[in-house]
Symmetry: C3
Subunit: 136 residues, 3 copies
């Protein structure tokens, strides 16, 4: 398979646990198919990768309502950070922090979980991540 043709390039913006779980499942699915995966973390998704709170409750999309939130929490299941760890173990998966979002949120490299590989700008990401962009 031609990796560059089938690369999955995810721009993660949202930081709720339901969306991050959906994103992680797409990433591990693509990694299992030997597709290259590049992930850019922006805004609230980046905030969710802070080392001191990655495993904390990040809520769910507002539309879930209290009932939906309770259903997701009750289900439990594997945490999205663990799914991403698996994706990195089985495939070519890189996770980048967006430099502009780092600046907006006032974060330094050391504030982030070790899942994050580096900090880069959008232009560098777009040059490196050769697949179509999927914004989540």
């Amino acid at each position: 398979m031609d990796g560059s043709q089938d690369a999955l390039s995810l721009v993660l913006f949202s930081g709720t646990d339901d969306k991050l779980t959906a994103a992680a499942v797409l990433a591990v699915g693509a990694a299992a198919m030997e597709r290259k995966v590049d992930i850019l973390l922006q805004y609230w998704a980046l905030d969710a990768f802070r080392a001191d709170r990655i495993l904390k409750d990040h809520g769910v999309a507002p539309e879930a309502g209290p009932e939906g939130a309770a259903i997701v929490q009750r289900h439990g299941g594997q945490h999205w950070s663990e799914t991403l760890r698996q994706a990195k173990a089985i495939g070519d998966v890189a996770i980048h922090a967006c430099s502009l979002s780092m600046e907006v949120l006032g974060l330094a490299r050391d504030d982030l979980d070790l899942l994050v590989d580096d900090v880069e700008g959008v232009a560098a990401f777009m040059a490196e991540a050769t697949g179509p962009l999927t914004f989540i």
Copy 2:
């Protein structure tokens, strides 16, 4: 036209009526252009396809505010489920329920509207849906 090249692969996550309408319009547009369309329903989008409430009010994005919600409701127009029915009638459009989301929400196949063709995992969807992923 090469269907596999131009396939539209939609991952629907949000279940509000405004986003589902936007998604349905993209699907019917692609179907009319003879593009293959695959739709994967996750979380709140899946919940919106429950047979007993597909036509009920699913709200709009929170940012709409009360004024925006009222404007959308006043406009009326064709329901997104009817637009998807048309898309399926004119083109090669398949709607899949994500098996993981089925489990999280505690849903069985019989709980879903007949617009849904089958239940499948993300890996199967990614193998079948050959187009770039659009997450809505």
Copy 3:
């Protein structure tokens, strides 16, 4: 570079300042790489381009919370409309208002900022915007 192959086709749905900033940065990055960029404005993103309020506060994603909203506002930085103006100055960037959303929101062409090039339907957009769709 083959422009049609690498075109960036953004469907903007959300109208909060954080998402519009993320979208504008992707657009200017692609324009700088000489990629063709087509943007379709729907619903709340379209509403944000009203001439009389484009520079007003459009809020941030609900998940930001009051703390996140304050952080974004404190940061300041270049407004997304200015970033889009730059993108149009340096590259082949077209901004289209979705005709269906114009009708839903009761807007006329004159209500919109001059950044918007024209009003068109989804079918026309999909015919013109040859790149994979990124929904924001």
